[in-house]
């Protein structure tokens, strides 16, 4: 059942303008992500966790979904997907700097734990894979309501070792739920390499066990991921059930700002890791088909720089949470308290 997508000449139903939007989203995510590390290293934020190297997989999959009615159940690397679903650069920086106005959690959650009820983005968790059954549950409820909503959930290769992954895939397949399981396989569960995590060669092979389609795709190429995800979303929309997509990506940073990947990745491997990435691969693809120009790229990067600076300054000037609000939201406002 698992297949490997190999579509160098893939023909997608996106206009050149939409393709540029997709690439712009990736550039924006990268610029915000780099700023987050800068803020961490400058001592302005105790923690940063990154999606650098995952932008192509997320942008491609994100463009196959309809943010006006679909749901995103992200993990902590899904910045590009969160932006695609409507999180703004200012939201991202308010969250990063843990301000009172942080729309994700008002400074209660770690950075990278994107959520927004308004944008149908469910809150993330630090324990791995707990979001996967949540995504299945959302699709279950949507189906019960007779909606054709599709739910996408992101997770890493590490999450496939958790029982939650199995339980969620099983349920989704049994009930033919509209879930896109997007495994962003960067080869590492923090420090443990893929070969120590699983005996199978491809995460997509797991799909066989649930009788669902499983596809491995080059996650550096947003266009190719889009083509695979579009098929999966169409199938889900028709009520034909879930798909497991394994996008092969690169984790271009350590696991988090508290990790030093030089303790488990060789200098050679790190050098090779940075020799390519989703921005370069997707850019080359769009250049080849004539969807990009140097002028457009230059202007876009300038515009993004302004956006990121504005978002950072806005967050820096925004007040910190008031310790008087510390216990707010432990219970619903009109609920009983101990």
């Amino acid at each position: 059942m698992a297949t490997v997508s190999g579509r160098p000449d893939v023909d997608v139903d996106l206009t050149h303008e939409q393709l540029r939007e997709m690439y712009e989203l990736m550039l924006l995510a990268r610029a915000l992500d780099e700023r987050m590390w800068l803020l961490n290293r400058a001592g302005q934020a105790p923690f940063a966790v990154s999606g650098q190297g995952h932008e192509g997989a997320q942008a491609g999959a994100g463009f196959a979904l309809d943010p006006s009615k679909d749901w995103l159940v992200p993990y902590y690397r899904d910045l590009t997907l969160a932006l695609r679903f409507g999180t703004s650069p200012r939201d991202v920086m308010l969250h990063m700097l843990a301000r009172a106005a942080d729309p994700n959690s008002g400074g209660r959650q770690m950075p990278g734990h994107y959520s927004s009820k308004a944008h149908r983005i469910l809150s993330g968790s630090s324990p791995i894979a707990t979001q996967i059954p949540h995504a299945t549950g959302i699709a279950f409820a949507a189906k019960a309501r007779g909606e054709d909503t599709v739910v996408i959930t992101g997770f890493g290769d590490g999450a496939t070792s958790e029982g939650d992954f199995h339980e969620a895939m099983n349920f989704a397949s049994i009930y033919k739920l509209g879930v896109i399981f997007l495994c962003e396989n960067n080869g590492y569960a923090i420090s443990v390499p893929q070969k120590k995590q699983m005996a199978v060669e491809r995460v997509a092979d797991y799909a066989k066990g649930y009788d669902m389609p499983g596809v491995t795709v080059d996650g550096l190429d947003a266009v190719e991921v889009y083509a695979v995800a579009k098929e999966a979303v169409d199938r889900a929309r028709r009520g034909e059930g879930p798909t497991l997509i394994e996008a092969i990506v690169r984790r271009l940073t350590p696991h988090s700002s508290d990790d030093d990947d030089r303790t488990y990745r060789s200098a050679e491997e790190l050098e090779d890791m940075h020799s390519s990435g989703p921005l370069r691969v997707t850019r080359n693809r769009l250049m080849e088909i004539g969807a990009l120009s140097d002028d457009w790229e230059q202007e876009t990067k300038e515009r993004i720089k302004t956006l990121v600076n504005d978002a950072t300054e806005h967050a820096e000037q925004s007040p910190l949470p008031d310790p008087g609000t510390l216990a707010d939201h432990v219970y619903a406002k009109d609920g009983s308290r101990m």
Partner: protein
């Protein structure tokens, strides 16, 4: 006596037990060549190899279940789970299997498993890396719950934990990992028993029972209060299950006043338990009500000013003790 860090001391204890008993092995994420997220196994991979320092996939339920089976067959697994919050994913396994296995088998099966990892608030670790939860597990019959505060105790209690036939939760407060203290030389095979409190400072006016990092905060408070002539006796129970009430009651008989300083939540917590036992067994010794100083009853926030407001500090402890002395 030489001084080493808390983490170095615990690692030395683990090393000694692995050398002594070939049935001891460690599982966890990144505990092999990498040496553990908190350097808990640094250097041991080269000594004992990948069979005994087993890197696992991220699957708390899975690897704890696996080690439960291994422990039932007589090996001695040490599960290194990094943060207590993560092990909550294995709660069912911990309460329904590990804690009950000896009882369910009428003692035919032993359960010599150690689950070790970090607890405690600090460093903007937020809702999922700051949990304490030791009072929660002290509620469950079957578990030994250990909370060492000094490097010497970390080593001696870990050695006892590994040799225990009962399951042990060995909980290390994040902010204690790099603290230094005196530890006997490596050739001294010092085992510190569970259920034996340590009197960390002697005093005659107030008994302060403190847990984990709060022992250090309370010692700081006691130092300040001594300048005003208030003599605080500071007791570190070192294990919450079993709890050494004898030492606590002996101290109360001397002081007549008691405060319990605990970073963990107040409701149904260690302070409530101790206060109830005191009311039961030593009501006539009390010159004032038993007081508690606890962490705020809320999930732990990420924001530094919010986080600082969650835990008791030196000043809140001083305030509580002054009030208690005035009562």
């Amino acid at each position: 006596m030489r001084e080493i860090t808390y983490t170095e001391a615990a690692r030395e204890g683990l090393d000694e037990e692995m050398a002594r008993d070939s049935s001891v092995f460690v599982v966890g994420e990144g505990i092999g060549k990498r040496g553990g997220n908190f350097n808990t196994t640094l250097g041991l991979f080269d000594k004992y190899g990948p069979q005994r320092l087993r890197d696992t996939p991220i699957a708390e339920r899975g690897f704890i279940g696996m080690c439960t089976g291994a422990a039932m067959t007589g090996t001695r697994p040490v599960v290194d789970f990094m943060f207590f919050d993560f092990i909550l994913d294995a709660t069912g396994e911990m309460i329904n299997q590990i804690a009950k296995m000896q009882y369910m088998s009428s003692g035919r099966l032993k359960m010599p498993i150690v689950l070790r990892g970090c607890v405690g608030v600090g460093g903007s670790s937020a809702t999922h890396h700051s949990g304490n939860y030791y009072s929660f597990y002290s509620h469950v019959p079957g578990w030994r719950v250990v909370l060492p505060t000094t490097p010497r105790d970390a080593k001696g209690l870990l050695k006892s934990a590994i040799r225990s036939d009962d399951p042990v939760l060995f909980l290390e407060h994040k902010l204690l990992l790099n603290t230094r203290g005196e530890v006997p030389d490596p050739d001294v095979d010092e085992l510190i028993p569970f259920g034996k409190a340590s009197v960390r400072r002697e005093g005659t006016d107030v008994t302060a029972v403190a847990f984990g990092m709060m022992v250090n905060r309370t010692l700081e408070a006691a130092e300040t209060l001594a300048q005003d002539g208030i003599r605080v006796e500071v007791i570190d129970p070192r294990s919450v299950a079993p709890l050494d009430m004898e030492t606590i009651l002996e101290s109360l008989a001397k002081t007549g006043r008691m405060v319990i300083v605990d970073e963990d939540y107040g409701p149904a917590g260690m302070g409530a338990e101790i206060a109830a036992l005191v009311a039961d067994r030593a009501f006539d010794e009390l010159d004032a009500p038993v007081r508690r100083v606890n962490g705020v009853h809320t999930p732990i926030p990420y924001s530094p000013p919010l986080e600082a407001a969650v835990v008791p500090n030196r000043d809140t402890i001083i305030g509580a003790i002054r009030d208690l002395v005035a009562e």
